[in-house]
Amino acid sequence: AQTVTQSQPEMSVQEAETVTLSCTYDTSESDYYLFWYKQPPSRQMILVIRQEAYKQQNATENRFSVNFQKAAKSFSLKISDSQLGDAAMYFCAFTPVFQGAQKLVFGQGTRLTINP
């Protein structure tokens, strides 16, 4: 069975600083997708960034980037120039490629606080 572990229940960072959220996963699959989702307080969960396992290049989306280490089964999220609007629960998620409908396995979540 696949598992996703986020070892940091809570993190905080000063506005404009950089923060890294950790995620590790366990799978015997060789091809899969990884995601980071953001859930702001009382708002909808939205996709932040995604990574295909077959791609060696780390994904980036503006101030968000990942450090994907396939051998170590690690998928961390780096947020640069943190803004107050980045405060949210962040979830790491995994899905194998060939499994019919996309069946996500989520981590426990990390609550990120931005200090002004």
Binding site: Q44, F91, A101, Q102, K103, L104, F106, Q108
Partner: protein, 113 residues
């Protein structure tokens, strides 16, 4: 803009009641999902559907059932509600392939008394 709508934001029911949670998406997505979200446990998949009238068990299906009679609508049913089903329930939808994002509703906070 994409939209997943859950019928209730907050719901309070009694133990033993049959409870229906409704979800509608307007994106013509093939896949729909029901999760429950609990502190410290993240999101756990209850059921999902990849086509009309098709359903698959997720990781925690016990005590739940689902219905998908139309492509845009996916219902979660608690046959006989129990207090341990008090939780936040999230509906999501997506299209293939698997690297496409899931789009989530606002969630229903369900309390079983």
């Amino acid at each position: 803009d994409v939209k997943v709508t859950q019928s209730s934001r907050y719901l309070v029911k009694r133990t033993g009641e049959k409870v229906f949670l409704e979800c509608v998406q307007d994106m013509d997505h093939e896949n729909m999902f029901w999760y429950r979200q609990d502190p410290g446990l993240g999101l756990r998949l209850i059921y999902f559907s990849y086509d009309v009238k098709m359903k698959e068990k997720g990781d925690i299906p016990e005590g739940y059932s689902v219905s998908r009679e139309k492509k845009e609508r996916f219902s979660l049913i608690l046959e006989s509600a129990s207090t341990n089903q008090t939780s936040m329930y999230l509906c999501a939808s997506s299209s293939p392939p698997g690297n496409q994002p899931q789009h989530f509703g606002d969630g229903t906070r369900l309390s079983i008394l």
